[in-house]
């Protein structure tokens, strides 16, 4: 049943190690020679990362001054946001952008590694460590670095570069922040308190400080590169990947009024939490599935899973997914785990697949081959390695 307040995806801006845009991702995920991961194994050995594809920044961030003011995570996000607006046909359309609401899922920005290393080296020998720290933070940090680190400044840069100024909110909280950003946008569209949204996030995996964080959590994969499923027998582990993904989501009525082509509908989205005692996450997911239930047709559906590779969460999710019996793709094998934008990127991949009526090729021998021309909907999962469970249903518009 169509309704004018349905939430439709009318624009996708997706960049990752696989390239830029829907076509590049589709081609890479359907490589006739079999899927080959794009990895940088050298820079942060023993940890591999999925590096961002080479971007011509000028295409989406025309002013060099803006590019310089940002760190990589902001450039990735601002670029992807511009690509999403372009894909929706509203880039530069001031009248629409002035009332476009934005919700960004963000972590924080890069450190100045040279300054950190030099201070850490000198502190133990400093006569007055506190004074030394003050002096060198004051003297050595680029004054505007703060603006490249603040979580809400990805959104700030998007307002500045692309003129999206209806409103601006930033959600923080790893994987679930991306899912909640989409959920709140869809809820506001449904309630009529917003017609068109730009929603997404970015992640720069090529950063010693984020690797350090996950290394402290013992959640990174150190072995030979392999699929997410392939890591499970050896204790699991995440390989993180640089990803930027934004979606333009708008009401069916708004899309129709401006003659926009919708790729897919977000027919439902649920986010939840538990303390991750055994089976709790599956129970949360089961409840979410029931909430989406009426719209789900298992006969022509598939699962795009955001399983990170972190052992407990991934193992439980794989067990739960097995009970659904649907063809499944674990996209972290291909894009790497991208934390804040991971759920949004998986929604994008689901929308691309649904709009083409086919699921992309398996990324692991355990993933079921499917026939072309049959896919009508896809479930998208997002379980954080520590907390947070999300589930969405993407259907034909």
């Amino acid at each position: 049943m169509q309704h004018e307040r349905d939430a439709l995806i009318t624009g996708i801006g997706l960049i990752s190690c696989l390239g830029e845009g829907a076509d590049a991702h589709w081609a890479a995920l359907n490589d006739p020679n079999g899927f080959q991961p794009v990895l940088d194994r050298a820079s942060f050995a023993p940890y591999a990362v999925h590096p961002m594809t080479a971007l011509t920044l000028d295409k989406q961030i025309p002013k060099r001054g803006d590019q310089r003011q940002m760190e990589a995570w902001q450039r990735i996000g601002t670029y992807a946001a511009g690509a999403a607006l372009e894909s929706a046909g509203i880039k530069g359309d001031t009248a629409i952008l002035e009332r476009t609401d934005m919700i960004v899922a963000a972590g924080g920005g890069e450190r100045d590694y040279a300054v950190d290393q030099s201070i850490l080296s000198a502190l133990p020998k400093a006569e007055n460590p506190g004074a030394y720290l003050n002096e060198h933070l004051l003297g050595d940090i680029r004054p505007t670095l703060f603006l490249a680190q603040l979580s809400n400044l990805l959104a700030g840069n998007i307002s500045l570069v692309h003129g999206v100024i209806g409103s601006s909110r930033t959600f923080m909280g790893e994987e679930t922040s991306g899912a909640d950003a989409v959920r709140i946008a869809c809820a506001r569209i449904g309630a009529g308190s917003g017609d068109i949204f730009l929603v997404g996030g970015s992640y720069n995996a090529q950063r010693a400080d984020v690797l350090l964080h996950y290394a402290m959590g013992r959640t990174l994969w150190k072995g030979e590169p392999t699929s997410v499923q392939g890591r499970m027998p050896a204790g699991g582990g995440m390989t993180i990947g640089s990803v930027g993904c934004f979606l333009v989501i708008e009401s069916r009525a708004h899309a129709a009024a401006r003659g926009a082509r919708a790729l897919a509908e977000i027919a439902g989205i649920e986010t939840g939490r538990c303390q991750r005692l055994p089976h709790q996450a599956s129970e949360v997911a089961e409840g979410q599935l029931a909430a989406l239930g009426a719209k789900l047709d298992p006969s022509d559906s598939a699962v795009i899973s955001g399983a990170s590779g972190a052992l407990e969460a991934t193992r439980e999710e794989l067990d739960w997914l097995a009970t659904l019996g649907l063809p499944t793709r674990l996209t972290a094998t291909a894009l790497g785990h991208s934390v804040e934008p991971s759920f949004v990127a998986n929604l994008a991949l689901a929308a691309i697949a649904v709009s083409r009526g086919a699921l992309f090729a398996p990324l692991d021998a355990s993933e079921q081959v499917t026939a072309a021309g049959t896919l009508k909907q896809a479930l998208v999962t997002g379980w954080g390695p520590w907390r947070g469970e999300s589930l969405a249903l993407v259907t034909r518009p």
């Binding site: 004051l138 809400n152 999206v164 209806g166 809820a187 959590g217 939490r273």
Partner: protein
């Protein structure tokens, strides 16, 4: 305006600032014009241009860090708010949590611990830190410095329902959290929501970052004189800590359970600014749009507003632009509507400010007293505001607007009412 059933009311509040813990202590100090700004004692201040802050020094946590302290302050204000509201059961709050939280990252003590564990001698590199992280037991740091940790821990403790949303719109974050709660109740997703803004990030690097942007007052002596909103000799804001929690409910739900109604959140407005990373559009358009959206959402004409709780940071730029906005929205009345800045006393509580200042606005209406703007010694002739100079004033106010404008161009205005 939505149907009366979806009118959003406040039934519980809790607050901590440098002035003290709890509503009573804060209100007493706030209405007596007391400053909470003092010399920083938490870390060495050698070489700093700014040596003062509105720190919360009377609450301690075992392993201090911004997220640990922010979480503790949030716990305390939530406890106060829930106790006042008398809602739910212990550990079982009947609604979602919306949290305004400062960005989280590893801090220097933890970085130094990793460096020490690495055993590197003369020069420490990130490779050394990575090695140390992999060989030692730092999983506690991992969890502490996840952005989701504060919200998840609070949701565990208070039993808030669903996914907790932690938001950052810089200095407008508290307003955004309130708006998220209001929207959830209006949509009928819940009858109650727990909103908290918290910020305890006075540490060397955070202070220095603001200092490097020339945003902070360097008028260190006496500390109480540093925050001077609307004064001609204002020169920057003073970093501060604090937290504010509000229990929001639908009017019908609050009435059904016989709760005392402390006020209403009549409307919220938000608007982004695409002009500059730290400066407002010179024409004030986004600020004006934000206030007008808030009033429209509340279904109120500007002449119904009896008090403006200013963003009033005391930076030359903010106070000037806020006046531009207020004079455009309120026209000839602008200079005669009382418009005071709590930040003159508590400093700028950053992420928490929108929540704390909404709470003080509600208390002002309920108690019939407007907190003053202290340190108003030299009026700025270009800002003809009635800032309730230096001494609190009795006033009968039915509606107030609380402004929050953030770095990155994120603005939120919350319209509050005395009675539903």
């Amino acid at each position: 305006m939505t149907s009366s059933d979806r009118t959003v009311v406040v039934t519980g509040i809790g607050v901590i600032t440098s002035l003290g813990q709890g509503k009573a202590d804060n209100w007493r100090a706030l209405t007596r014009g007391v400053s909470g700004i003092k010399r920083i004692s938490r870390f060495p201040i050698d070489g700093l241009k700014t040596t003062i802050a509105g720190t919360v020094d009377f609450i301690a946590v075992p392993e201090p860090s911004a997220p640990a302290m922010s979480e503790r302050l949030a716990e305390l204000v939530i406890e106060e708010a829930i106790a006042e509201a008398g809602i739910g059961r212990p550990g079982d709050f009947p609604g979602p949590l919306f949290l305004a939280l400062p960005p989280v990252e590893l801090e220097w003590p933890q970085r130094q611990a990793l460096a020490a564990a690495s055993g590197a001698n003369d020069s420490v590199t990130y490779d050394d830190l990575l090695r140390a992280a992999d060989s030692g037991d730092f999983t506690a740091y991992f969890r502490r410095f996840l952005f989701s940790s504060v919200g998840q821990n609070l949701a565990d403790r208070f039993g808030a329902k669903g996914s907790p949303i932690a938001t950052s719109t810089a200095c407008a974050s508290g307003g955004t959290a309130i708006q998220l709660g209001v929207e959830a109740i209006r949509r009928g997703e819940t009858d109650a929501a727990l909103v908290v803004g918290t910020d305890a990030s006075v540490n060397p690097e955070s202070l220095i970052r603001f200092s490097l942007l020339s945003a902070l007052s360097t008028r260190n002596d006496p500390p109480s004189s540093a925050s001077r909103p609307f004064s001609k000799d204002r020169e920057g804001f003073v970093m501060a800590e604090g937290a504010g929690a509000l229990v929001l409910e639908s009017l019908s739900s609050a009435r059904a359970r016989g709760a005392t109604i402390l006020g209403t959140v009549a409307g919220c407005g938000e608007a982004a600014d695409g002009f500059h990373r730290t400066r407002s559009s010179p024409d004030g358009k986004p600020i004006i749009a934000c206030m007008r959206k808030g009033l429209a959402d509340a279904g109120l004409d500007p002449d119904k507003i009896g008090y403006i709780n200013a963003h009033g940071t005391g930076t030359p730029e903010n106070d000037k632009m806020e006046w531009v906005g207020v004079s455009a929205v309120f026209g000839e009345r602008a200079g005669s509507i009382p418009m005071s800045s709590n930040k003159s006393m508590i400093g700028h509580t950053l992420t928490a400010a929108g929540a704390i200042e909404a709470i003080f606005s509600l208390m002002a209406m309920r108690n019939g007293v407007l907190p003053p703007t202290i340190n108003y010694d030299i009026p700025d002739p270009t800002l003809p505001v009635d800032c309730v100079p230096n001494v609190a004033r009795a006033a009968d106010v039915a509606y107030a607007i609380s402004n929050s404008f953030g770095f990155g161009g994120q603005n939120v205005c919350v319209v509050l009412g005395r009675e539903p």
